[in-house]
């Protein structure tokens, strides 16, 4: 292996002049690339631990959305009869699967910094690696969960169309949105441990404000305006469009959600980057 040419690392007092956004962005991407091996090691560690510590291993990643699918199917077919374009069980599973990816990332990521305080106070690395690695761990569960969706599509005879090829695009948008939220929450929890408790409430509220178990566009009145602002709904609907309905996602709403995700990720990442130098002192 060639010895990398010595690079100079500077650690200087923060100047009063605001640092250039361009320089920040360059540094963020450069550092993430330089420390990607560490990020993958942390992902590997978490996956390995789950496999070792639990008997069911990745079975758990399927069990959770399947349980919810059964519960909501009972409610919305036996108690209330909800009309959906595809049979309700597959409708709700296709919503629960990506939602679970989002929600479980938030749950783990909120403590991503605080639970790794030994690392943060002893070793230098870009701290965003910690919340980012929780996304990658949850992504593995998410992908495993698709196996059940595939079986259900076979059972309910839902044909797969070419639009399914858009899946990576939808996943990418969801990851960007999740990453943006995750950076803010993990950083917030480092300063104020209250955030961890707020996240639980936030997740529950957010789920019913998203088209996970029922289409929120059936909600009318003033609440409908608020619900329209939620980028998670077009993202989850996009999964149903391309996988179950065999059509392109609703472009205006999905396009907006994608744009919001990109902006949110960049803004929160820059904020995170500008604050992370003092994490070791504040944790």
């Amino acid at each position: 292996m060639p010895v990398p040419s010595p690079q100079i690392s500077e650690n200087a007092a923060r100047s009063d002049a605001p640092s250039a956004l361009r320089a920040d962005l360059r540094e963020m991407f450069h550092e993430l690339a330089a420390y990607r091996e560490l990020m993958f090691s942390l992902v590997r560690r978490d996956l390995l631990l789950r496999y070792k510590q639990t008997v069911m291993g990745f079975g758990w990643s399927v069990l959770m959305p399947v349980t919810y699918m059964v519960i909501f199917s009972l409610i919305f077919t036996r108690v209330v009869n909800l009309k959906t374009e595809v049979p309700y069980p597959i409708y709700v599973y296709a919503g629960l699967l990506p939602w679970n990816f989002f929600a479980s990332t938030l749950r783990f990521a909120v403590g991503a910094l605080t639970s790794n305080s030994t690392l943060i106070t002893k070793v230098y690395f870009p701290r965003e690696i910690l919340p980012f690695s929780t996304i990658l761990v949850a992504l593995v569960d998410f992908l495993v969960g698709f196996s059940v969706l595939a079986l259900m599509m076979l059972y309910y005879k839902v044909p797969l169309t070419w639009f399914a090829l858009l899946l990576p695009v939808v996943i990418a948008v969801q990851i960007m949105f999740t990453a943006g939220v995750t950076l803010l929450l993990s950083m917030g929890n480092l300063y104020y441990r209250d955030v961890k408790y707020m996240v639980e409430i936030l997740i529950t509220l957010w789920m019913f404000a998203t088209s996970v178990v029922y289409p929120v566009d059936r909600v009318g009145g003033a609440l409908a305006v608020v619900l329209k602002l939620n980028p998670m709904t077009p993202i989850i609907d996009a999964y149903r469009s391309i996988l179950l309905h065999g059509r392109i996602p609703d472009l205006p709403s999905f396009g907006t959600a994608a744009a919001v995700s990109v902006v949110l990720l960049l803004v929160s990442w820059v904020l995170f980057h500008r604050a992370e130098f003092e994490f070791a002192e504040r944790i």
Partner: protein, 396 residues
């Protein structure tokens, strides 16, 4: 690989005492305060704040090893944290050229449920070692830690010593341009400590610039080419390792200003070895203490004492004085020629002088100190030479 460099340029670091607000409950009052009060421009000290480091400058070039010594809370670890970019200086900057290898105590970051092997890879990547490099050095690392038989056992079954050894071994195999050592010299049993120390010494001898923080002055003395004595965030002395250690030994014996017992007190001016500043174990050394005592005799004349301190353990291993020899200090200038038989194992020792005015410990003042290195001699271990004799006989 001889181009590593460490540079500190006018570094200041501010800390604050007491607790910061940590829950949202405190956020609102503090935000209100921030709005009402004008932000004080960065650098002035406010309320609970204090300077942990003040105007620190140093450069460590290839071939040099800098030792930082000083009492607890002097700011030693803060220096290392700034070097490794864990915290940012309040003023000034630090520059490090090349890859930094930190030999810090990170045994705590090993994961108990992962095996030794998995932890080696994890630690490697935490310290910035590419996976391929870990694979290449894997056997060497495990061999060094002496854990070949346990490498596929979960770390939770390891003893704490094994844990620390594994963590150290990974760090010690990092290909590095700059070495940072934080009090890890106390890892594992004495055999491993020896091995770890030798490893660090080899790295320093290869020309890798190093910065070391330790309370084990003996180790600092043999590892470092020069030193800084840090007291309350300020450089009390910078220069040769032995000078700094000498000053530190004196500081430890007598922090703060010594109580001056008036004009009648005995003053000690100097202490000087009559011969070279190193000797062999079991040899006799002589040194001279020069001082003065008041001409008119009023009350107790005072006693001059001599203490020998082991710099490895920091404890006093021998003490004597004019009173234990039934001697009186003459009025005016005087010299005391003291002889000691160094029946001690090889190492670095401080010879400290002191004056006792009354009968109490609190009435004592410390005089000058000198260092003596004891090397070689008849082989033994322990703290004192007992001139053992062993006779071997066959018994049918």
């Amino acid at each position: 690989m001889k181009d590593g460099l460490v540079q500190f340029e006018g570094v200041w670091k501010k800390y604050r005492r007491g607790e910061r607000h940590d829950s949202l409950r405190d956020l609102i009052p503090s935000m209100a305060r921030a709005l009402l009060r004008k932000r004080v421009a960065g650098e002035a000290l406010q309320g609970q704040e204090f300077w942990a480091l003040q105007d620190l400058d140093f450069t460590v070039e290839p071939g040099e090893a800098l030792g930082i010594i000083g009492p607890n809370g002097a700011g030693k670890s803060t220096i290392l944290k700034i070097l490794t970019r864990l915290i940012r200086p309040t003023r000034g900057r630090s520059l490090v050229r090349g890859r930094i290898g930190s030999l810090i105590e990170i045994g705590g970051s090993l994961h108990p449920d992962l095996t030794g092997r998995e932890n080696v890879y994890l630690q490697g990547s935490i310290m910035g070692m590419p996976r391929a490099e870990v694979t290449r050095k894997f056997d060497e690392i495990v061999e060094f830690a002496g854990l070949s038989d346990f490498i596929d056992t979960p770390v939770k079954r390891f003893s704490s010593g094994m844990n620390a050894r594994l963590g150290f071994s990974v760090a010690a195999h990092l290909e590095t341009d700059v070495l940072i050592i934080d009090e890890v010299l106390a890892v594992g049993d004495s055999a491993f400590q020896r091995k770890a120390f030798d490893r660090m010494q080899t790295m320093v001898q290869r020309g890798i610039p190093a910065v070391t923080v330790s309370h084990q002055l003996e180790r600092i003395a043999s590892l470092c080419t020069r030193a800084i004595l840090l007291v309350q965030g300020q450089v009390a002395h910078a220069g040769s390792t032995t000078d700094c250690i000498e000053m530190y030994a004196r500081y430890q014996a007598d922090p703060g200003e010594a109580p001056v017992a008036g004009a009648q007190a005995v003053q000690l001016d100097s202490i000087a070895l009559a011969s070279a500043d190193s000797t062999a174990s079991g040899e006799r050394i002589e040194f001279e203490i020069v001082g003065s005592s008041p001409l008119e005799r009023t009350g107790a004349r005072g006693v001059v004492g001599v203490r020998v301190r082991s710099l490895e353990t920091g404890s006093i291993i021998y003490a004597c004085g004019t009173e234990t020899h039934d001697l009186e200090i003459p009025p005016g200038r005087f010299g005391l020629r003291v002889g000691l038989e160094m029946n001690v194992p090889p190492g670095l020792y401080a010879i400290e002088s002191s004056v006792w005015q009354g009968g109490h410990e609190r009435d004592s003042r410390n005089g000058p100190t000198t260092l003596i290195r004891v090397s070689g001699g008849p082989s033994f271990t322990g703290t004192v030479q007992m001139n053992s004799s062993i006779l071997v006989r066959s018994r049918a």
